[in-house]
């Protein structure tokens, strides 16, 4: 799920205003965009790549690995299922406000075909210096620099802030994995964490969570098992219960999805959870220094 330059990207909804703008940004950054989808403009080209009627047609004519959807909510299910049935390895679904029953149909189709869905309601994924898929400012060097810290975030805006803080603190990123703010997303915090733990380019992980659901609690199981330092900030501590704070998934009902539960689970697993996002780089420095000392001691013992 970490985007690589070798990944061939298809843009569903390439001809729209956002599709066009972000396709150009992705191309300029080095992402390998191989085509777009718009049934009404099939056969033409746009942003220098061919337009296909469907994702299946794109797969039959050169193929692709990742599809990114610039598709409005009412049409999102059909577009996602088209990409899934075409054999996409990954579908990055940026769309917010897709009806939940449609989202469940997308997930069922993805499970059957072995497709990874990132999102819905994600801002996308970035591998600094290599490529990005979605609507993140990968090209902004104050926010993204090649480096060794993997970042997971449910929110694009907060993820951007955290990356910016990291870069200021001298930490580039190995990957930014935006997983989305919906209640039922295809790639969870735990999935993203597993990918970063397995990634040899990642030395430490910044896990940006938020209230609602139980993904941070589930991810804590992996935090406990990894040697890579994990720092975290959880948004929504000051949000009143019972209200959806912009993200459909960010809602506390009863004890479910509370800040305390998430923070507690991560801390018990050994992560350092900070009160304000500006404290993340310092927390990371401290943990990485400790890890370096440990591995130094290990080398001496060997």
């Amino acid at each position: 799920m970490i985007v690589r330059k070798s990944d061939r990207v298809l843009v569903q909804g390439i001809t729209g205003k956002q599709g066009t703008f972000w396709t150009e940004q992705m191309q300029a950054y080095g992402t390998t965009v191989v085509g777009g989808v718009n049934p009404k403009k099939a056969g033409q080209s746009h942003c220098g790549v061919p337009i296909f009627a469907t994702a299946k047609e794109a797969m039959a004519n050169g193929g692709f690995d990742v599809s990114v959807m610039f598709i409005p909510p009412a049409a999102a299910k059909a577009a996602a299922i088209d990409a899934i049935e075409a054999g996409a390895k990954t579908v990055v679904c940026l769309t917010e406000h897709i009806p939940a029953h449609d989202v469940m149909e997308m997930h069922a189709a993805a499970a059957e075909h072995g497709t990874r869905i990132i999102g819905p309601n994600t801002a996308g994924i970035v591998t600094p210096g290599e490529g990005f898929v979605g609507i993140m400012p990968a090209f902004n060097p104050r926010v993204f620099q090649p480096g060794r810290v993997g970042v997971i975030s449910r929110s694009g805006s907060l993820g951007t802030l955290v990356c910016l803080n990291l870069v200021r603190g001298g930490h580039g990123q190995s990957a930014f994995l935006g997983i989305g703010g919906d209640p039922m997303i295809g790639t969870t915090t735990k999935d993203a964490l597993a990918a970063l733990i397995d990634d040899p380019g990642t030395d430490a992980i910044a896990l940006v969570g938020e209230i609602g659901g139980s993904m941070e609690e589930e991810a804590a199981e992996l935090v406990a098992k990894t040697d890579k330092p994990v720092v975290s900030f959880i948004a929504g501590r000051a949000s009143p219960p019972g209200k959806k704070m912009g993200h459909a998934g960010a809602i506390v009902t009863g004890d479910r999805g509370s800040y305390a539960s998430k923070r507690g689970a991560l801390e018990r697993a050994g992560a350092v959870v900070v009160d304000v996002p500006g404290d993340l780089p310092a927390a990371l420095d401290a943990l990485m220094a400790e890890a370096a000392k440990r591995s130094g001691a290990q080398r001496l013992a060997d």
Binding site: M104, A108, R142, S157, L161, M245, G249
Partner: protein
């Protein structure tokens, strides 16, 4: 969108399910007339929240006079923050047993989940904790649906006797209603087995996905309106997600995550945010309207403008804020933190046009705003 009991039951009835006879009443007189027509009744507060029974919002009435007195007592109560303006006056059922049934969106399996328990009338969390053996759950492949065979499999091994058949049919019907209407939750508690062998919903809790209301137009009008403050209504009309809070530090940020975080940092610095309002996504061009909204809250003593632009360009957002500032000419102090896309231009604009120096660190801007609000 939440549906009160009577509205949920009318959705069930429209879908062909049999529900108890009842009338929605707004006064004691209406309740009395309803009871005269129906016979012995239950008088139930209609509010889009649970725990009505525990709050005294449900009363039995054997006679029309008792129904009037019960309605009198219940109307005007406040339950879970909702004033009771109407009661449902419903026939008393001859209950043999009570069950629990629900269909809901399950984030863990990312699929519909059908729940059934032989322990009706209780909180389902309590049932799960104390009588787990009575609780059945089944994740459904949404593309295959939930049919009679699935229902029988779900109920296998439960002591239901003759009720097994009508309960299974009811579960299939409930799933159909859930699916037809883009429900997030359809919960029947209790689901009653009557003395005559019928299985009927005695209560109904229905929540329909707000994102699907565009295609649920036939029932959307039956749903309960969210209780919104005047400012929240104004935000809604502008297509801005504004939530009014009790504090005095106004918050304007972009993106849900960053806005929540701004509120958190206000609170961490010892202040209290006066609102949630984000102008991310397509709304990033609405800086002027948004600022007007934030400042219309009379409690606001200072303002934080926190932008971290990705897709949303900070220069466009800052332009909106500057324009609003010049039009509204507010007296509260404002503290800016601006980062990301368009940052240099945005900072320059704020500096030159408002004569205000944005803070380098968001935490510092927020601390200053909290200090100023004291």
């Amino acid at each position: 969108m939440n549906f009160e009991e009577h509205a949920g039951k009318s959705v069930l009835a429209r879908a062909g399910l049999s529900v108890p006879q009842g009338r929605l009443c707004a006064s004691a007189q209406e309740a009395e007339a309803a009871a005269r027509a129906i016979g012995p009744v239950v008088v139930k507060a209609q509010v889009p929240t649970g725990k009505r029974g525990k709050s005294g919002g449900v009363k039995l009435a054997a006679t029309p006079e008792e129904a009037a007195a019960s309605a009198q007592a219940i109307l005007g109560m406040e339950i879970g923050g909702f004033p009771v303006a109407r009661v449902l006056v419903e026939e008393q059922a001859a209950i043999a047993r009570e069950f629990y049934a629900a269909v809901l969106n399950d984030p863990a399996s990312r699929s519909p989940l059908v729940l059934f328990s032989t322990e009706g009338g209780m909180d389902i969390e309590e049932v799960a904790a104390t009588r787990p053996e009575s609780l059945r759950r089944m994740a459904v492949d949404i593309r295959k649906g939930f049919g009679p065979a699935d229902a029988r499999r779900l109920l296998l091994g439960l002591d239901l006797g003759e009720a097994a058949v009508p309960v299974a049919a009811m579960l299939v019907d409930l799933y159909r209603v859930y699916r037809q209407h883009d429900a997030e939750l359809l919960e029947i508690n209790p689901l009653a087995l009557l003395a005559d062998g019928r299985v009927v919903p005695l209560d109904c809790k229905l929540t329909v996905d707000d994102s699907a209301l565009y295609r649920q137009t036939d029932i959307a009008g039956l749903g309960a309106k969210e209780p919104l403050s005047a400012l929240e209504e104004r935000g809604r009309a502008l297509d801005l997600k504004y939530i009014e809070l009790e504090g005095n530090v106004g918050v304007l940020a972009n993106g849900a995550g960053l806005t929540m975080t701004t509120m958190d940092v206000v609170s961490h610095a010892g202040g209290r945010p006066s609102n949630f309002l984000e102008i991310g996504g397509e709304a990033y061009t609405k800086g002027t309207e948004a600022l007007d909204l934030v400042l219309s809250n009379p409690g606001v003593k200072s303002l934080v403008v926190n932008f971290c632009g990705a897709f949303a360009r900070t220069d466009v957002m800052a332009g909106g804020v500057i324009q609003a500032w010049k039009t509204l000419n507010p007296t509260v102090p404002v503290f800016f933190s601006i980062h990301g896309t368009g940052e240099d231009e945005a900072v320059r604009m704020v500096r030159e046009e408002l004569g205000i120096e944005p803070y380098d660190r968001m935490e510092d801007a927020i601390s200053a705003a909290v200090e100023a609000a004291r």
